[in-house]
């Protein structure tokens, strides 16, 4: 159930249902609280043969949000280092398969392919944008972080993050909405 706070920002708490995803529209500002899983290029490359052979992935993606990020190392006493988004399009090759397995959300920055946007419609998924190059401030919303798979990948390992009020915006919704296209159309002169 997605609630809208008095400031107009939607509260997103994974795991997400189809109805949750349907309630989100491109351009909606959101605050995410709960669990985010991190994964980027190298982890996705390891997912691929597993998905092709219908083997289990190291995380149950159903209902979850995958955050495309490779954090910088945490200083002593800190939960995590800088933790902003990386470019989502590099994960385009893998995203439709993950959405078919029940992944509901992805978070990154930058445009997604037509195939991914179609898969969002087909499987009821959503793509959030986090502000790129703002990894220091975004680290403040992470309350706990632990590596849960592929530790050998270093920054590219899969981490389970507990976040509170992590700020993001809906870029691609499951209705075909695209913030990048709409924004550009509105402000082009």
């Amino acid at each position: 159930m997605i609630k809208t706070a008095p400031d107009g920002i939607k509260e997103v708490v994974p795991p997400l249902s189809d109805a949750d995803v349907e309630a989100l529209r491109a351009g909606d500002r959101v605050r995410i609280s709960g669990i985010l899983y991190t994964g980027r290029d190298a982890a996705h490359a390891r997912f691929l043969p597993l998905m092709d052979e219908e083997q289990p992935l190291p995380i149950d993606v159903r209902g979850q949000i995958l955050y495309y990020t490779g954090p910088s190392p945490a200083r002593p006493g800190m939960v995590i280092g800088s933790v902003g988004p990386t470019t989502g399009s590099r994960m385009d090759k893998y995203a439709p398969k993950l959405l078919a397995l029940g992944l509901k959300g992805m978070m990154g920055k930058g445009s997604r392919s037509r195939e991914v946007r179609e898969a969002l419609k087909r499987h009821k998924g959503v793509y959030f944008g986090a502000v790129g190059g703002a990894g220091a401030i975004l680290s403040q919303f992470v309350k706990k972080a632990e590596v849960i798979a592929y530790e050998d990948l270093g920054t590219e390992a899969i981490r389970r993050l507990e976040v509170e009020n992590f700020p993001a915006i809906v870029v691609n919704d499951c209705h075909g909405g695209d913030l990048y296209e709409e924004g550009m159309r509105q402000y082009a002169r």
């Binding site: 280092g81 401030i137 975004l138």
Partner: protein, 297 residues
Amino acid sequence: MREIHVSAITDAVKKLCMEANYELEPDMLRAFDRALQTERSPAGRQVLQLLKENAELARTRKIPYCQDTGFVVCFVELGQDVYVVGGLLEEAINEGVRQGYTEGYLRASIVRSPFDRKNTGDNTPAVVHLELVPGPQLKIMVMAKGGGCENRSKYKMLTPADGLEGVKEWILECIRTAGPDACPPLIAGVGVGGTFEKAALLSKKALFRELGSSNPDPAVDAIEKEVLDRANRLGIGPQGYGGDTTALGIHILTYPCHITSLPVAVTIECHAHRAAPGAPRPPRHPLADLAPHGTLA
């Protein structure tokens, strides 16, 4: 002849790597403020405001403002009257990178081979561009180049018939296709002329110029201003959410070229412009004569 020990170079590079990642340059912060005055998009203004807060937090807590702490690119201007002693220049630079990234809690983002993709673990090696210059000075400019925007950098060999308008169109095409992916607002470093590799090198070096400064060549300055204005009419805006602030600067460097050629390279740089120019001194005070930030010798 002036001797510079490699340890001074290592110390300087180490410090510059950290500074480049913790401290966003004042010219970038001023550019955010200028953009906040003209940006019509509420989402765009929120992004710019967040980036200012992010820079402040990074500076005070000494955490990198972007988790991508970059590929270290060093432009070294080595005076012909300088004699580097105690080891090899490039090894000294790499040792500085190793120490800076390990001790500074900066991310290791470099893989040892483009094919096996094993992380080197300490962000080495750097990419080093060495230029011999007159005099007894050694100047090292460090840029920790972000990968997301670098991936949107492009090169095109235009023809003399394409001319100036072709060059402008190509720069705009690079910015348009970079779109939201390269973390706008961005800077376009442009190298025009020379050969294939010369244009690319100039496009990177152009990024060290102070943001908001004029090109010393008035004709090129006019081109930069026109392209910047046209880029900011594309509507891409901060983070691509729509808006008036797509680019913060177009910096062009030129070089003579062949009668058949018009090479144009565009390095796309995001707002997280991790650059720190500096010059090492003899060992005891390795950084006392740091050049003013943002200037190019």
